[in-house]
Symmetry: C2
Subunit: 320 residues, 2 copies
């Protein structure tokens, strides 16, 4: 048996559950797991998920199927999409768009807020020794941030804006900045904007957006809030690009005519490349230390989730 947080009907509970033992997958002893905005949205009803949430983790492979024994004992992080293996997307290696996919802790598959989880070996990436657990747990969200620079060409852009000064916004801002672009972070929190300023970025208070004269070629909405897209539309220049990273439960009223009149391009952006994220975290090109707000033992999950509503990255430690 193992301890696990289980989500059902918008509530979390710490339960005893059987340890996972699926055929053909690796079993990973979770050492640390990060709480993401999506986890909070799941509790609000997003994706209708029931089961163990949690999709940002680092752990040790405890068992592996035949042919994958080399993983046993390895410290790993894991990609969160598990595809059917046979559809067009899977055959192209794009598991994240398989129609029948499972997504760790989000869709049809238990996640990392537990002492153990299981994953196919194909989803695993070894963590280099110079990347300790407290930074390795950021690989998944940094990969999601890296997806932005994989989708949109920043090479001709001197300046970009990121709407959202939360955990994802500050990661996206750093990833864009290390690509050589001057970044303005737009947010609501003085202390979070200060982190951006300390990293050499420009900042703008969210309430200044409506009167801002600045217009950016590329704006990323990583606010996680329904109003983030409207802010991005106010900041983007005609024929510019908005990268949309916010997922939240429900619909938001949007005046779409400005998208048409200004011929704006909106690009949805989700999961990204783990190798690039591991590289940026190992080299400290992306510095996550100012983002780490606290680490709680699994038994103190209620305090951890309460903190995650306002803090930056809150983690759960499974070892105690």
């Amino acid at each position: 048996m193992m301890r696990a947080l289980v989500a059902a009907d918008g509530r979390l509970q710490l339960c005893e559950r059987p340890k996972p033992a699926p055929a053909g997958e690796c079993v990973i002893r979770v050492r640390r797991a990060g709480i993401c905005g999506t986890d909070l949205e799941i509790l609000a009803g997003y994706a209708g998920f029931r089961g163990v949430p949690g999709h940002e983790f680092v752990g040790i492979v405890e068992s592996a199927p035949e042919g994958a024994e080399a993983w046993i004992g390895c410290r790993v992080v894991g990609e969160i999409n598990v595809g059917c293996g046979t559809c067009g997307f899977c055959r192209e290696g794009v598991r994240e768009h398989c129609e029948r996919r499972q997504v760790v802790g989000i869709r049809g598959r238990d996640g990392a807020f537990a002492e153990y989880l299981s994953l196919p070996a194909a989803n695993l990436h070894a963590v280099p020794d110079d990347l300790p657990d407290e930074r390795a747990v950021f690989v998944e969200p940094v990969a999601a941030a890296c997806r932005v620079i994989a989708q949109v060409d920043f090479s001709k852009t001197a300046e970009a804006a990121v709407v959202g000064d939360g955990r994802l916004g500050l990661l996206v801002a750093q990833v864009i900045a290390q690509a050589g672009v001057r970044v303005t972070v737009v947010g609501r929190h003085t202390e979070k904007l200060a982190i951006a300023r300390n990293a050499g970025m420009e900042t703008m208070a969210a309430e200044a957006v409506r009167v801002a004269r600045a217009r950016f070629e590329i704006v990323v909405d990583a606010s996680g809030r329904p109003e983030g897209l409207a802010s991005a539309l106010a900041l983007v220049r005609p024929r510019g690009t908005i990268v949309l990273k916010s997922t939240f439960h429900g619909a938001t009223p949007l005046a779409t005519s400005p998208v048409v009149v200004d011929e704006v391009t909106i690009v949805g952006s989700r999961c990204g490349p783990f190798p690039k994220a591991i590289e940026l975290l190992s080299s400290r090109a992306v510095d996550v230390r100012p983002l780490l707000s606290g680490t709680y033992p699994l038994s103190e999950w209620q305090a951890a989730f309460a903190a995650a509503r306002t803090a930056l990255k809150v983690c759960l430690e499974m070892t105690t």
Copy 2:
């Protein structure tokens, strides 16, 4: 003096107005003008416009400023954006995104529902003799349809969908079809979908969208309706592209998470190339005859606008 339809506070009135005589512009005697969905939206409050609406027209140049006298007597159509001439966009020849632009019959400049309008010579295009007035009046909306194939690469796409079986939807569908793509038109009107079927296209009833299994690489929303974007999202495949052409007054509730999760790209699309539109109409590669629902003298404008709410393209004739 001249007769003109004047919009103010959501009402139209036929008025006597001074004939336009601006310095440095050509004065055009309007022969025929088309009623567009945007004109109906203007009466619902879109763009807050007051003045003479109408931006689809064909006419004869009656007077021209020094240096442009060669235009006098020419039958012309006109691009609708008049830029400041000095900003970055204007210097690149992209008048449609000049921040201080006027737009014929939509923003700060009187339009074509009048016996005369004025435009800079730079906005004019001569109409070839083989393109009679009743088809030439379609140049502006066909150009807007052509903008779609200028923005999005259809060369790798076998099938695309167009949401909207109205005047713009049927034009966009034809422009995409003549580019060699198999088109499915999605709409609510049996008789309008029949026009698409007669042109060799597939059709889908709007109420079938939610249960449709079809997924398209490219979907154009030309519905002019708030719910068009949601229909397009239901029809597009992951990593596909939605081209958004609908402008309407107000905001619409939109669940944006599917845009993120499916990594959909949404491209706003507005005005397009007049030369390409003239070519497609001259060669009859785009056949507008089934779209022409009726032509009314200016004095019967009330009947014309009433018809335009449900019919395809309704035109006003200024000669009587």
